[in-house]
Symmetry: C3
Subunit: 465 residues, 3 copies
């Protein structure tokens, strides 16, 4: 199987067939735990956790121990050389000289990508800021498949903090890949970020129905739906009759309610959900639409999920957690190459492949939590983007995947008699279409453009759109 030596940074790094192969191996491992001991004899896993964690760190470490491997561990960022100002790239190269595989959690978005770039051993993202948490997503998918047989066609409601909950960000793409319908039920002010919805629609090809602001939310029992995503294969008429048919469909219930806690440690002060963060409890789950709904949660919970559901057969969250061990065992064994497993790949929707934008100067990722925005990393790290849209010009950071819309553009070459070399223009002028991607230069400000020797062009000042 082709997983040997590969990184798992975002859930996109795995095909559906590969994910299913991991699950089948997890099944067989769960059935004979003692038989797995020794598979990773002599292998060393580095478990680098630069944010608080119990579940994920202990789950990975348990998985490695159950395979008979060894673990070196960092659980306190203050105890490491990062406290002395060391860069992530250096740390990655050093640890790759010790361990056979690296598991990394970090508060900066894109940090796992960065570690993967510099480490010459496989790297698994155990959560990078608000970006992704792909192995949690594997546990979520595994639970859905164990409980429902297949994910295709399921209706999954995502509930709570969809803005900062990295577990939901990974899950959204995975659900789309497997053909589930996603019902977005965010808490007020904690809606899914635009860059994720944009990626979902443009790359996964399905249809997103947005019910506008808070006023227009579709209500169906306890569910206040902000948006719905349906995969391409799904025939539906939502675009015609917004809200209406869907309300009917929702009355039939959802297959799973995926609850998340408010990620207060990432709040910037703009969110005010404290008083109104809704609680999922036994009373709410009495609704007929929830009679067969699995209650899922990546845990830890705070107040958003009541303890009175714990003994309910629909409560899946402790199962999700304990299933993390066989799933991670399978992933580690396959990635380390100590185990092989056949992958049966069904044709999956072709995903868009974007052109790259890379320059030493000019536009930078405007996400303050992006790894490229940090002092210790800036000194060696060159921003990198995918050009995901032309109008408006949108660059998606290859590290944190946030979208940035640069204000000014220029070209390294003269184009079609119109775009002058060494002149800069507004990014929203029509010239954006005239510049070939490989010649594109983007700037955050006029000042920056001028510092690099560019002069204002005809379309620099005028607002065209």
């Amino acid at each position: 199987m082709a997983l040997k030596g590969r990184d798992l940074v975002t859930i996109d790094d795995l095909t559906n067939g590969e994910i299913e192969a991991i699950f089948k191996l997890a099944d067989s491992m769960a059935d004979s735990m003692p038989g797995q001991y020794g598979l990773c004899r002599g292998k060393v896993m580095a478990s680098l956790f630069f944010e608080p964690s119990t579940r994920t760190r202990l789950s990975f470490e348990t998985a490695m121990h159950r395979l008979g491997g060894r673990v070196i561990s960092v659980s306190d960022p203050k105890s490491t050389s990062l406290a002395k100002g060391e860069s992530i790239a250096d740390m990655a190269r050093i640890v790759a000289g010790y361990a056979d595989i690296i598991v990394i959690r970090h508060p900066w978005e894109g940090a796992a990508r960065l570690v993967a770039d510099y480490a010459d051993v496989p790297v698994i993202n155990a959560g990078d800021g608000g970006h992704q948490h792909p192995t949690q997503t594997l546990c979520d998918l595994y639970t859905l498949i164990k409980e429902r047989g297949s994910i295709h066609g399921l209706k999954i409601a995502l509930w709570g903090d969809l803005k900062y909950g990295r577990t939901t960000h990974s899950l959204i793409f995975a659900l789309a890949k497997f053909g589930a319908t996603i019902v977005f039920c965010p808490s007020r002010g904690l809606e899914v970020p635009e860059n994720i919805l944009h990626k979902l629609v443009t790359e996964y090809g399905g249809e997103l129905e947005r019910f506008g602001g808070r006023e227009k939310k579709v209500k169906s029992g306890a569910l206040q739906v902000d948006a719905v995503y349906m995969t391409p294969g799904k025939p539906h008429q939502l675009a015609m009759m917004p809200g209406i048919d869907f309300e009917v469909e929702l009355k039939a219930g959802v297959d799973a309610l995926y609850v998340t806690r408010p990620q207060k440690e990432r709040f910037t002060g703009e969110e005010q959900p404290d008083n109104e963060f809704p609680v999922v409890d036994k009373k709410m789950m009495r609704g007929k639409q929830f009679s067969k709904t699995l209650v899922m949660h990546p845990l830890p919970r705070v107040d958003e999920l009541a303890y009175d559901l714990d003994a309910d057969p629909r409560a899946m969250y402790f199962k999700q957690a304990s299933r993390g061990v066989p799933v991670r065992m399978a992933l580690l064994a396959l990635t380390l190459g100590v185990k092989e497993f056949p992958v049966i790949e069904e044709p999956s929707p072709v995903r868009t492949d974007y052109l790259m934008y890379e320059r030493d100067y000019g536009v930078k990722c405007n996400n303050p939590r992006c790894v490229t925005a940090q002092e210790s990393e800036k000194k060696y790290l060159k921003p990198g983007f995918k050009i995901v849209n032309r109008e408006p010009l949108t660059l998606r950071c290859v590290y944190c995947e946030h979208g940035t819309e640069p204000k000014f553009i220029a070209s390294t070459e003269w184009h079609e008699g119109r775009v002058e070399h060494k002149k800069y223009h507004r990014a929203n002028s029509h010239l954006v279409k005239k510049i070939r991607p490989e010649n594109l230069i983007a700037f955050d400000s006029e000042k920056e453009a001028e510092e690099h020797g560019y002069k204002p062009g005809y379309y620099a000042k005028a607002k065209e759109k």
Copy 2:
């Protein structure tokens, strides 16, 4: 042996025969350390330390490694999901999904009981606040038996901070169980808590002679004795001639002096022992009464035990510590069921079994360090008590074992024509004897009683006693 799968939360969880079986297995393990490697092959121990520790954590982890098992470890509370507000119950269920056995240290009293309630793997208490530390007690008993052959009939002086020193709290009950005489020599203001003395007398059936306040302390050489406990089998006349005969007996010396440090991290400000915390040193130990006295200490020490005793053959404290490894190996092997050992049980004094008091509302444990008093735990945790006394009505928390005396009582049923349903009364009225335990409701305040629909009864206001 019946230890497989069982929890060790307080020293009461083990019978004398079980303790002796652990020691015999420890003996044989200490004799052939390399032979033990592999016994716990493939087993995982979770080592969860939410308070500073070197000795206990490293001792448990070493024990598991010497058995060939694996360890997942939390040594810094700030690095875990508890920092995100996770409850102990959730943590317990999650970790039980990973590990085969859990070792837990926590600052909240009763936390280990709580973990044991929610985890479906064996749980070992490695210290819960000022409550208990049963495996330290095992090391202490093991040392006494190794050095003196038997504990029965020994005179053991407990010295220092007997208020907050959880190691002494566990030790007191163990010494009573094994028939030792306990000589209490607390530092001023750091006397043994009443709930412990109460449990000692009521459940272990011996005789406690208290020498009143500081003025009346019995002095015998360096020993200033606050109280003495003798097991039932021991014939003595202390009650007749307080202090006098006992002074004579003390002149013959004590078998062990168990020194403890001031547990300043638990001081609330009422204690003022700083300047007068006595020091055990070579000079003091020159006294004839100490000529054969073992000097014990659970360590770490601060200033209460001088370094000049370290080379003295009576100094046992480093032996206590190093013996922790084989004792904990034996305990782990038996609890995990990888080893069996015959238990020879001698009839032990029958201990009182109390009736339970459990209600969703009403009286709460009034120990602020109790796990039931914490915000994160309150939301799911129902207080539970043993009714250990009727006059005054005393409820002992099943978690932290502190005694609470509720102020008001009521009954769920009409009793003997006198106790009216839906009326509340003072707990110190004679009615307390009229209410059957299964009907008893206790309140901390009138306000609370009234909030639950009870009205003041005839004996609500009047002070009867």
Copy 3:
């Protein structure tokens, strides 16, 4: 091989032959990593890190795991009993009761020596304050030998913070032992401490050429040389023509440039190198004199070593780090006695052996970072010194190796009719030579001498020199 059971506290603890034997074993281990697993089966290494570390801790732990041994680990000083005020001696004795070998990093200078004194298992110093870091030095030497075949006759420039960089302190002595020429290029205010230069010259017997203050520094391209050390065997004329010939020699380049970061965590405020700490980068390394120069760094780096050198074949720093694993594996295996290796010892320069000075009272080590100066250690720890010089009287602390010059002296005996018993004199009087070392008493102050019953002698006040 005689390494079994021995401590490694300073690089002096190993002979050249032993170091070379470690490297040969490291070579053979690196060639067949999987074959080493199991060598340390059942052995436990305690990894005690009381200062931040990634590299060294994870490197040692990886080494032990690759050998199949087990690890107990402290990575956060706040999580240990030292936080409760426990002394290093107690910690050492306790942990020695658990583990088969101890690896210790500590901020106090001399701490590793202290642990070695009290632990009855082998102790390896993984860095003690600004004192030494001998296993880093092993990695450095190993890299030099791997890249250049031999260290004898190499010219090694030490660059950066030579005051607080403990790695350079260990390295200096090792380079001298192996016959390298050392070129000191410290940042301003961060020159090598005098006690190290003194030890170098008096014990290693070579010649030190000092170019005075900043004004007189010898410049050769980018190198600003503060001093040069040459081993005894090396014929040269530096003393005759200071600076001149050496500049010529430097134009031929250096074999390695050993860069260190400013150890800001140890700065006391007197240093002001922030703005002028020089950066080693591609541009600087373009100089002809560096064409074959290995760029070394113990890492972590901050800003003193540019990332643009990372891909340069002369960059050795990541190799240094990854070579730490086989070197530490060899060291652990030999020290634990699970492996033997023949030592071929060439006659090495005979090192001076000094007389000891030990008294319960009188002079103390004046290094505030010395382990003997700490409150928790003072209560049991007796200072110990080597008498390394008579004029001026200089005592070198056996823990931190700092030199102290006591102000006053006395004698326990009457000497030659001149030195009166019970009188004290200035240490710089001629009497210092009249007192036999075994009778010498040294005081920091007159007050101290008088407190111990000594009266001012004839040479107490007069300044003789």
